[in-house]
């Protein structure tokens, strides 16, 4: 252990390079050589890369924990958050607001939060790689798939390991890219490609917020490193004038407008609020919160293991990670915290309500993910950073397990139904418990976990969040405040709590609805015939069969071990992971994660205050959570297991419009189409008109007409007859010859020395065979190209230049020179002319 520690010192922890390099290498090899490697080779490469990365992450985690222990012995106060850092290279520098240089390095740093994320990414990543190697076995894009998947792991690791915001942003964009590539993995289907594009575009809105936040942090804190931001975070308590912007004032605006839009006093907020809201905009995009959640349900167009890894376990939790990571900024602004918590609560309830009536198994899970992400944001929003992050951790296991279970069900449905929509429709399932025992049990365990049944993982994390929501909120230190700050009202915490309980009830209901519809009752997919054999028809023929009448087929088969092993492992974690932070039991042995995370949030937690009776409520507050499970799960059991879904159909008939509205996701997509998309469309139409009429119509036509006219004129000269061309050549040569034969008496004047001595130097222009003669005033003529003339103030002289060429032709040029009484002014060309030409002469 000591040798290991000295090999990898905390300030130069090169093992991180291994964690990062392996998935990158896997992505490169599979992406470039994958086709030639063959499926076995690709599979080995991908699994080895992510597996090796997992082992390196595990070693990193062990190193981190051992160092934490060494620091924390004896005195609790001295416990510092341990960071293992590795700086790869200097990237670039920014200039800060005070003129200082802000270095941006490609540097990676790992603390307990990053290390746990690394284990989740590589560990669950490995299981999902293993699962995919079976699930995607038949796919032609096998190597492409694994290249993307490895690349995703690399980008996600960059995101959580980045030591500064810029590296985080690189990973942030990287996972967005991989998400886009994998959602549109089967891009031949227009629908899938559109889903990928939607995810990408919606994420751009969020990224805009993140870039804005980075710029503001660099401006105020003078650093983008986590440690640097935390050290200078109080500078974010500068007031910022948000309205009116710029120099809008009563002087610059017309009176009525100024009265209308200008407030009596400028509106000021803390920079921390702006930064927090901008960061949260980024997080809302990545983590699918209201109102940017719309991409996640569509993202289910990708392969199911992708949904499990990217759109449930890892990437979508990046937003929660980032809020937890920047908790020291958020605690400065109660308004930003409240925005996070309220958005989370609203999303949790809203998404859960959509999940109620979905019939597509993957869609149910997608809305469940959105809803659970809402819970996580409630956690980090009320200041329960550990609890929120812990829910990321537990959710990764049971949601990945649910998605992989759904994948296993879909895989077996593909035994006879090949249409994507029909094979995922729960109305075609039912009774699969007998055919798919392993999938059924793991799915049931995960359902119990997500519904919050003790002692499964979801119970510990979700009830911790809800209790904290009831009891805790961020407080403000009024003594140092420079602005009147928005304070957290007392009713808000309980309100969030009860919204959360309602969402938990709905969660239990729709999860067990999915479970009962899939695994219980009669199998509705096709008529199971013993010993049924495919009659050698290709897949393409099945569509015809389906139209002809009840489909016949073999009994659905349980998936092979490569798919069931990940299910079993994840289900085991769904059961036991909760004991890694079972805070409610108050046993130190059962809170290792909480203990690791505590130093990271220590400073931020100082700002979190609670109700005086909060501690007493801890166990009491669990009762509504349990009741939520009992009510939701019980209702689902009665409706779907006992009465086979009849009450849902009755409800749909009694309130058809309400049912359709919820089924159509409250028509939020249509709302977006009508507002945002419609606005962009209208804008595009305006630009199209401008392009058509102004650019094409006026500018292009006028210039085309001009060029056309010039072309017509010039075309007249292009006769195409050799003689016409040669004639113009002859005329041109004759003209040139004439010019050369004539002498030209041109000259130039150099007046550099004029101010000092009154001297001017005149030089004749050179020519072949020329002979020059200068006559200055009455003095005798001189030969040579140059002549020097001296002018006294008030004097006038006439200079004559005579040029004789080789043919004895003579040209003459008279140059009158005069100088005024003022000693510095010279006139060339006689008195009265005030322009002094530098050269002249006849030609």
């Amino acid at each position: 252990m000591e040798a290991f520690k000295s090999q990898f010192p905390a300030s130069n922890f090169t093992l991180l390079a291994v964690v990062l390099a392996l998935p990158a290498l896997g992505a490169f090899v599979n992406g470039v050589f994958g086709k030639r490697l063959g499926k076995q080779g690709v599979r080995f490469m991908a699994l080895a890369a992510i597996g090796g990365s997992f082992l390196a992450s595990l070693a990193t985690f062990v190193a981190l924990v051992s160092r934490t222990g060494a620091h924390g012995e004896g005195h609790e106060e001295a416990k510092q958050a341990v960071r293992l850092t590795w700086s790869a290279w200097h990237w670039f520098s920014l200039t800060g607001s005070a003129g200082q240089s802000i270095p941006i390095d490609v540097a990676f740093g790992v603390d307990a939060m990053s290390a746990i994320m690394m284990l989740v990414i590589t560990g669950i990543g490995f299981l999902i790689h293993l699962y995919s190697s079976e699930y995607m076995k038949e796919d032609e894009g096998f190597h492409r798939y694994f290249a993307y998947l490895n690349l995703f792991c690399f980008a996600m690791l960059t995101l959580v390991m980045g030591d500064n915001m810029v590296v985080l942003f690189v990973g942030w964009e990287g996972v967005g890219l991989c998400s886009y590539l994998l959602i549109g993995f089967w891009f031949l289907d227009e629908k899938n490609a559109a889903a990928g594009k939607k995810a990408f575009l919606v994420n751009r809105i969020g990224d805009f917020g993140l870039i804005l936040a980075m710029a503001m942090i660099a401006y105020y804190c003078g650093s983008l490193q986590w440690t640097g931001i935390e050290a200078n975070v109080t500078r974010l308590l500068d007031p910022v004038k948000v309205w009116p912007i710029g120099n809008l004032s009563h002087e610059t605006l017309p009176g009525f407008l100024a009265n209308l839009i200008l407030p009596k006093a400028p509106i000021q907020v803390y920079a921390a609020t702006l930064v927090g809201l901008a960061i949260f905009l980024g997080c809302a995009g990545k983590s699918a919160q209201m109102p940017l959640y719309i991409w996640l349900p569509d993202a289910m167009a990708g392969p199911t293991p992708v949904s499990a890894l990217i759109h449930a376990a890892t990437m979508v939790t990046a937003g929660v990670y980032l809020v937890a990571r920047t908790s020291f900024i958020f605690v400065l602004s109660p308004a930003a915290m409240a925005t996070v918590a309220v958005t989370g609560a609203f999303t949790a309830l809203f998404a859960a309500s959509i999940g109620l009536f979905q019939t597509d198994l993957k869609k149910v899970l997608a809305y469940s993910t959105v809803s659970q992400l809402g819970f996580m944001f409630i956690g980090v929003g009320v200041g329960a950073f550990s609890a929120g992050f812990f829910h990321v951790f537990t959710h990764a296991f049971f949601k990945a397990c649910l998605f992989l279970g759904a994948g296993s069900v879909i895989h077996s449905m593909h035994g006879r139904i090949h249409d994507t929509n029909r094979s995922q429709d729960m109305r075609n399932m039912g009774g699969l418990a007998d055919y798919l025992p392993i999938t059924r049990w793991t799915f049931l365990i995960s359902c119990l976990a997500i519904a919050g049944v003790p002692p499964l993982a979801g119970f510990w994390s979700k009830d911790e969040i809800l209790w904290k929501a009831f009891a805790d909120h961020v407080t403000t230190d009024k003594s140092t405040a420079r602005l009147t700050m928005w304070t957290w009202p007392t009713w808000l915490g309980p309100a969030i709590y009860w919204v959360g309980i309602a969402a938990a009830t709905l969660t239990a209901f729709y999860m067990f609805r999915a479970y009962f519809m899939t695994f219980h009752g009669q199998f509705r997919g096709w008529k199971v015939v013993k010993g049924w054999k495919d009659h050698g028809h290709g897949h393409g023929h099945d569509d015809h069969h389906e139209d002809e009448g009840p489909l016949e087929g073999p009994a659905p088969r349980e998936s092979p071990p490569a798919m069931t092993i990940p299910l079993i492992v994840l289900a085991a974690f769904a059961v036991f992971a909760g004991f890694l932070n079972a805070a409610a039991l108050h046993l130190p042995a059962l809170e290792p994660i909480g203990e690791l995370l505590a130093p990271i949030f220590a400073k931020a937690s100082l700002a979190i205050g609670g109700r005086p009776d909060g501690e007493k409520l801890e166990h009491l507050m669990m009762a509504p959570g349990l009741l939520a499970f009992a009510v939701g799960g019980g209702a689902a059991y009665v409706i779907y297991a006992q009465r086979n879904g009849a009450p849902e159909r009755a409800f749909a008939e009694a309130f058809p419009r309400l049912y359709r509205l919820v089924y159509d996701k409250w028509r939020i997509d249509e709302l977006y189409d009508a507002t945002v998309v419609g606005m962009v469309d209208a804008l595009a139409d305006i630009f199209t008109m401008a392009d058509k009429w102004i650019i094409d119509g006026v500018i292009a036509r006028v210039s085309a007409a001009l060029v056309g006219f010039l072309g017509t004129v010039l075309r007249a000269f292009q006769t195409g007859r050799v003689q016409a061309y040669s004639a113009s050549m002859v005329i041109g040569l004759a003209g040139l010859g004439w010019f050369l034969v004539r002498p030209h008496a041109a000259y130039s004047i150099d007046d550099k020395a004029f101010k000092a001595s009154g001297q001017l130097t005149l030089s004749a222009a050179p020519g072949l065979g020329y002979h020059y003669r200068w006559t200055v005033g009455d003095s005798p003529p001189s030969d040579g190209r140059d002549v020097t003339v001296t002018l006294n103030p008030g004097e006038s002289k006439e200079v004559v230049l005579e040029v004789t060429n080789a043919f004895k032709s003579v040209a003459q040029e008279r140059i009158p020179l005069s100088r005024s009484q003022k000693p510095t002014v010279i006139q060339v060309g006689g008195p009265g002319s005030d322009k002094a030409p530098a050269q002249g002469g006849s030609r």
Binding site: Q718, T719, G720, R721, V722, Q723, S726, A727, V730
Partner: protein
Amino acid sequence: MNTIPLEYYLVVGAVLFTTGAVGFLLRRNLLVLLMSIELMLNGVNLTLVAYNRHYPVNHGGQVFAFFVIAVAAAEAAVGLAIVLSFFRLRKTVRSDEADLLRN
């Protein structure tokens, strides 16, 4: 010894050149055009050689004339080949029919 003055040669050369130039501009038969070019080249050659005789410093005029003769031979070969292929194409040797690039 009575020598013919330089000016006589120059005048003959100028007359030859002008004849060639006018012929090149006015005639429409490609073969005649080629011959006109030869005439112009010969006028230039005569001028060069005449200058060389009067200023025989390094015989640059004669060397230049040899170059012109060599180039004229090459030009005649290429020119005749062009005329031949043009005739195959258009069944004529009139220069004003050679307007394929115009339209």
